[in-house]
Symmetry: C2
Subunit: 340 residues, 2 copies
């Protein structure tokens, strides 16, 4: 567990910080939904607006039974209340006893074709008394792995990160590998992407849970200069904006690959890992359930159909085995070279 | 949270307590598996023995693709180690700093016919330094509700409980309603049964988390006399022995009821609640994952095929709606009278 007390005040927040971020998060939802409808060519998003009794609310958008997507959800929410749940206060002790504000957009897509990977995005912003921070990320979960797809996603994200700070991508890539990890399976959720939390402008990028990751990073990456609220907001906008260019070409390339029962069975089985991660580990899910969020919106991330099979192991030397052996282990995808 | 410190020593434990309970738990697994194979008439249990690196192990038995059961698992385990996980020590502070021993048998059955209910059983025994306790229970999760089935199950359990103490059934029935509850859905998991934990012979039966339940109980049920280790062990044996008579007649009555896509869809959808409960709330699952148990054995409770559907609501005045309106709310099933 990482706890820290603020010695010096955080970089200043503009007076209209909440409306700036909230507007951006809604635009992000709009642009993602438009891009996905265009990609799918059939399914349209249905919108449900909801209010949270304790304060705030959101708009959930779900599509189902599309050409590409069996189910997809893109959720915007903006909530406030008198206190953050214990799981967050433990990480941000300075938030204790303060009102909080939180807004964000999150998305999970479950394609029908097993060759098209599942993908998740979430960007979020918090204010609570003297503290504020941005968090979020994007990660890709293939059922059948393609190195060129993993490379395309990672290099697109790296380009967005590098525009702001060369340390961002290596730190947030490692943090993603660490976070989207199923400890009880000793498996990564997929090929990763980027993930970060608690970005409040102070100079230490990594604030994750694992000592090992921190040690690795301290050898490689020093402290970065303090960053203004505007600079971090601009970074978040850039990351979020890189989702469609990172994902759409992969989906287009794989959407027409023929598949049968074998691929479908494996996809449904692997979707079980997605459920296990989201219900056992995912910080956003736990935050939503603990703050009395709208359950249907929180759990729209769960796949439409899932299989569990006792003690399944892929046959050696199959594409299914290759997923475990190569793609569910940390790899330097951004620097992968075709033919290597 | 309930915490308590032991003022006086607990009732004495026989020198061979561990082997007595462990033998019983293995016999329980044997007798349940034999009864279920007879009921199913087709599928046989496959056994996997496993060892836990930190100490102990178990034998897992799984059947699949039977006449009655799409998937069923019955797991025996006996583990020991240097310290209990935090989630348990929080409830039993006197166990702090002590070695522990834990043994138990657990079972979850997922029938294929949507008219046959899913059922779960778990009985367990712990020793850690100065403390020991029994826990466990049995609960029924129908997809289509039948009052006579709920009555049969509850009255069979009540008969077993009443042989030992008239306060057991009402307290442990309420505890079951409280424990198998999905807070984020505001729904019970099913029609309940009995559940209890931390039974160490001291006179206060209820040691659950909810203040409201404790208040309700204190009006109705006083303290019971201290119970010996043998008396509690005998009670556990009686409860566990009542599983087959409680469940088999229900399965036999419903196994040939015709069903189609509608019933199957609803069954797969409702199985999602089972997954949500087991991964978000279930104490046995969390204990297993936290103590580095065998993941495949812990998660064999998960259904073979599951569906999630965004914002599903049953049509009013259907059997599906009746499940929510009548069967997923606490009812006095033991005293239900036919035609009432």
């Amino acid at each position: 567990m990482t706890t820290s007390t603020i010695q010096t005040p955080l970089p200043q927040v503009p007076t209209d910080s909440r409306s700036q971020v909230s507007q951006f998060m809604q635009q992000l939802q709009d642009s993602i939904c438009a891009g996905l409808e265009e990609l799918d060519g059939k399914a349209k998003f249905r919108q449900d607006e909801w209010e949270r009794p304790e304060g705030g609310g959101g708009r959930s958008r779900v599509m189902a039974e599309g050409n590409v997507f069996e189910k997809g959800g893109v959720n915007f929410s903006e909530v406030f209340g008198s206190h953050l749940p214990p799981s967050i206060v433990k990480q941000r002790p300075d938030a204790t006893g303060h009102d909080f504000y939180a807004t964000g957009t999150s998305m999970v897509l479950h394609p029908r074709n097993p060759y098209v990977p599942t993908v998740h995005l979430n960007y979020r912003y918090f204010e609570a008394g003297p503290v504020w921070w941005f968090g979020g990320g994007l990660d890709l979960t293939p059922y059948y792995g393609f190195a060129e797809d993993a490379h395309h996603l990672h290099s697109t994200l790296k380009t967005a990160c590098d525009r702001h700070n060369p340390d961002y991508y290596p730190v947030f890539k490692l943090w993603c590998d660490e976070y989207f990890y199923l400890n009880h399976r000793q498996e990564m959720r997929g090929v990763g992407g980027i993930f970060f939390d608690y970005q409040d402008g102070r100079g230490k990028l990594y604030k994750g849970d694992k000592q090992q990751a921190a040690l690795e990073l301290s050898d490689r990456i020093g402290e970065v200069p303090e960053r203004s609220w505007q600079e971090l907001f601009s970074f978040i906008q850039d990351c979020a904006g890189s989702f469609l260019p990172a994902y759409v070409p992969i989906a287009q390339k794989r959407r027409d690959t023929p598949w049968g029962d074998r691929e479908r069975d494996f996809q449904l089985y692997r979707r079980g890992r997605y459920v296990e991660f989201n219900l056992v580990y995912d910080r956003g899910t736990i935050f939503g359930l603990q703050t009395n969020g709208r359950t249907e919106s929180i759990l729209m991330s769960l796949p439409p159909v899932v299989r569990w099979e006792y003690d399944y192991h892929p046959q050696p030397n199959t594409p299914e085995a290759q997923l475990y052996d190569l793609f569910l282990k940390p790899q330097d995808w951004a620097n992968w070279v075709e033919g290597s």
